[in-house]
């Protein structure tokens, strides 16, 4: 028996509210997704306004306050999370670092997802020969150690935010490419694709209008998982000295810098670590919600929940 309520002859469903209101209502229905959205909004606000407001404070050294412990309520709120090995307030640094971190991670994930998906769609739907060529290209990227690639490229081009984004994006392309291609190969045999072909739809239309929307939820899940991976990969590069260069900061770099003080001052690595965890967790929860909210056959789960709660 199917769990989806099917409409029988003669039933009239009430009119559906407008799209933005529906989505807000569905977001309200899933409290985890709501919390995740709020956290992500805070992170974005931090990234946009942080450097302008707190840039100076975050860079100002204060050697008397080296490794100041957190939860010292007598000092200003910027010191509540303690200070790093040069006495700079951690809270301010985390807020300022949000911009670089999010730029690198979002940039790399978006670039690799866009390029990977596009190539994957082509590889899956185009002729065999084109598909094979693209797949071998992916194999080359995958068989090349990504760290080695990063070292070479960044050594030649010089470390900067943009270059780090490019390097990370290239190494992550095969993930999207392979997933997309595999899904396309399956979906292109489905009947609604045949139906579109019978109508005379162009390949472009079939791929973008009929196949991509079905692949998208999977890709979104991968992208959010990748977000965390990219943040950590960036910190590894920074740790090697070829990623983001101090005095610029990212969360990954802060963790790396705090590592040597871990036994005496755990908070140096803990807070930026927490920021990474919260961000990626929120992204995961939100993408999970989106997967359901964007699927017309699943949407009722959220709408039902909203109704029983409200």
């Amino acid at each position: 028996m199917s769990n989806v309520p099917a409409m029988t002859d003669g039933t009239v469903l009430p009119d559906e509210p407008s799209a933005p209101r529906r989505f807000l209502r569905m977001l309200w229905a899933d409290k985890f997704a709501l919390a995740a959205t709020i956290i992500l909004l805070v992170v974005v606000l931090m990234a946009v306004f942080g450097p302008a407001l707190l840039g100076d404070v975050a860079q100002k050294q204060n050697l008397r306050g080296r490794n100041a412990p957190p939860f010292d309520w007598e000092r200003g709120w910027l010191w509540w999370m303690g200070a790093d090995s040069l006495g700079r307030p951690l809270l301010a640094r985390i807020i300022v670092a949000a911009r670089n971190t999010i730029t690198v991670a979002a940039g790399a994930v978006l670039c690799s997802a866009l390029v990977g998906t596009a190539l994957g769609l082509v590889a899956g739907y185009a002729s065999r020969r084109v598909g094979e060529a693209i797949m071998r290209l992916a194999d080359v990227i995958m068989s090349f150690p990504s760290l080695l690639l990063a070292v070479i490229v960044l050594y030649i081009l010089g470390p900067s935010v943009a270059n780090v984004v490019v390097v990370l994006a290239i190494t992550r392309i095969p993930v999207y490419l392979r997933t997309t291609r595999a899904e396309v190969l399956e979906i292109r045999e489905r009947m609604f694709v045949s139906a579109a072909r019978v109508m005379g739809a162009s390949s472009r239309r079939i791929v973008l209008r009929h196949i991509l929307p079905v692949v998208l939820p999977t890709l979104m899940t991968i992208a959010t998982l990748d977000f965390a991976y990219v943040m950590l990969a960036e910190s590894a590069l920074s740790f090697l000295g070829i990623g983001i260069q101090p005095p610029e900061i990212t969360w990954g770099l802060m963790i790396a810098q705090g590592k040597e003080h871990l036994t005496r001052a755990w908070w140096l690595s803990f807070w930026p670590g927490l920021a990474i965890i919260l961000t990626t967790l929120s992204l995961n929860l939100l993408s999970n919600w989106m997967r359901i909210a964007l699927d017309p056959t699943q949407r009722w789960r959220l709408e039902m929940r909203g109704r029983s709660n409200g």
Binding site: T8, L13, M191, S194, M199, G200, D295, T297
Partner: protein, 539 residues
């Protein structure tokens, strides 16, 4: 009250779904005795499988909940037994045969292992079980039984797999066999054989058989008594003959009335120049000859039925005519121009004339598009048909034409029932104002009463709009009231071609005769007469 072999009393089962509590079955009672066959007849969603699922403890709880009733077997109420006792009864005393044997056989073990396992799971020694497995496989009529035991499920045909499922179910010599749509996935000729096998085995072992089906023909062929279910309730029960000849409940009457193959046969139109001339089409997949010199003529506004069992090449023919697959050789002249050799540009124009309605509307409608988007996509692709300002109005017109309401345009396909979805698919095909619609098994996934409605709709469209149809089906009765000409295919070849009347009343080819004979008539008396005839032929 005499004790029955298996009795369900006042059973009610609820499911908790998003739409609230659904009463899957409500106060249902039936029983089956030794040597007796009970049919539970109902359409999809009628709750016909739920009571047997309760017997075998197959209902997931939650979301399901048995709210009242008892299931008496051997003087005990099954619902009050513990899980271990239930398992001991399941498979050993009450066995089940499923609709789709391929998904119920494990693909990584050979069938011998699987049959033996059902016996060893109930405590038989392996050696004895193996000997018994060989006997069973021989009994259900699998060729080369010893070798067959070492083969894997995919190496058998659909009918053989169903025979193997029966062998597995019989392994522990059960008292009751429950068969859930055992022949629905099978070809007509194979269906008749499997039903005959079940009947024979029942005669040998004296077991009670409960058969769940939507098909009046199956009921007429095999059942002694029948209960008719609708919307979770039993609306009628009695002996098969009684229910067929004197149906009391309106639903039963509707169901019997909807059975295809009783209406007036069409006389074909006067001969005109054919719009579609297909000659000598060949298609091979590897070494398999899917189409071997197929040809046909189709007049404008005429309906040609293409009938054949699975593997006969009828769907391949449809795909090739629509250029979803390429033919290896042959020609298909559409208004004098060979559509196998058209350039992409010519083909694009041709798409407006030739449309297709697919077998399963659940799969042929993109689940992420609204009805409006699905239908108007035709005009996005062919913008010359209709200016955008009129799309809304035209979609509403088309929906009205296929018997849906204009306000359905903003819904998604999953919000409709199977029959309604097929109407949407038809509306989509009509949006291009085609001259020929190819229906590939367009009604075989639908319930009988819905099937009749969809065929009525197609009939009306043909009368009012003069659309020609190529109607592909695996079942002859469905095409009887609808087609002008019938073409019977077998193994990629046309074995018979003629007007409906010729094919149904005087079939020339032995295969067509076999196909007609294997089709099950909903009238139990007709079936009984046919069975007697078959026996006398054999004797």
């Amino acid at each position: 009250m005499a004790d029955h072999l298996l009795e369900v009393r006042n059973l009610s089962v609820e499911f908790h779904t998003a739409g609230g509590v659904v009463k899957a079955v409500n106060d249902v009672s039936w029983h089956v005795d030794r040597r007796e066959t009970l049919a539970i007849l109902g359409e999809s969603g009628s709750g016909k499988s739920v009571s047997t699922a309760a017997i075998l403890d197959l209902i997931d709880m939650p979301p399901g909940r048995i709210t009242s009733g008892e299931i008496r077997f051997d003087g005990r109420d099954l619902l009050k037994l513990g899980a271990a006792e239930r398992r001991d009864i399941n498979g050993r005393r009450i066995a089940m045969i499923f609709q789709d044997p391929l998904s119920h056989l494990n693909p990584v073990y050979n069938v011998g292992w699987q049959i033996v396992e059902t016996m060893t799971a109930h405590g038989q020694s392996r050696a004895k079980a193996q000997a018994e497995a060989l006997r069973l496989v021989t009994r259900v009529g699998i060729p080369n039984p010893a070798e067959a035991l070492r083969k894997y499920p995919h190496e058998f045909s659909g009918g053989q797999r169903q025979r193997l499922m029966i062998a597995m179910a019989l392994a522990m010599k059960p008292d009751v066999i429950i068969a859930d749509e055992p022949t629905t996935a099978l070809d007509v000729t194979v269906q008749a054989e499997v039903l005959a096998l079940l009947k024979e085995l029942q005669g040998e072992t004296g077991m009670g058989v409960v058969i769940i089906t939507h098909d009046l023909g199956v009921v007429a062929e095999i059942a002694d008594r029948v209960v008719v279910m609708n919307a979770g309730e039993i609306v009628e029960s009695g002996t098969t003959r009684d229910v067929y000849h004197n149906p009391r409940h309106p639903y039963t009457r509707k169901l019997i009335g909807a059975a295809p193959g009783k209406g007036e046969m069409h006389a074909p139109l006067s001969t005109a120049e054919p719009v579609l001339k297909v000659r000598n089409v060949m298609k091979t997949y590897g070494t398999f000859k899917a189409l071997d010199g197929v040809g046909l003529d189709l007049m404008a506004g005429e309906t040609l039925a293409v009938v054949g069992e699975s593997g006969s090449g009828k769907s391949t023919l449809a795909r090739i005519l629509l250029r979803l697959d390429e033919a290896d050789a042959g020609e298909a002249l559409w208004k004098g121009r060979d559509l196998f050799r058209m350039s992409p540009v010519e083909l694009f124009v041709l798409r407006r004339d030739l449309q297709m309605v697919f077998q399963d509307p659940t799969q042929s409608l993109n689940p992420r598009m609204t009805v409006f988007q699905l239908i108007s996509e035709a005009w996005v692709i062919h913008p010359e048909i209709l200016p955008k300002a009129q799309w809304r109005r035209r979609v509403a017109d088309l929906l009205a034409q296929v018997g849906l309401r204009p306000e359905h345009a903003n819904r998604y396909p999953h919000q409709f029932s199977g029959g309604q979805r097929q109407r949407i698919a038809i509306a989509r095909a009509l949006a291009l104002e085609p001259e020929l619609i190819i229906c590939d098994e367009a009604v075989s996934a639908l319930d009988v009463s819905v099937q009749a409605q969809v065929i009525d709709l197609l009939n009306r469209l043909r009368r009012e709009m003069g659309i020609a149809f190529i109607f592909i089906a695996h079942d002859l009765p469905v095409v009887r009231d609808f087609a002008d000409h019938v073409m019977v295919m077998r193994k990629g070849r046309v074995v018979e071609y003629g007007t409906v009347r010729q094919v149904f009343e005087a079939p020339r080819d032995p295969y067509t005769q076999a196909l007609l004979a294997a089709g099950l008539d909903p009238d139990p008396d007709v079936q009984a007469a046919r069975r007697a005839e078959r026996l006398s032929v054999r004797a």
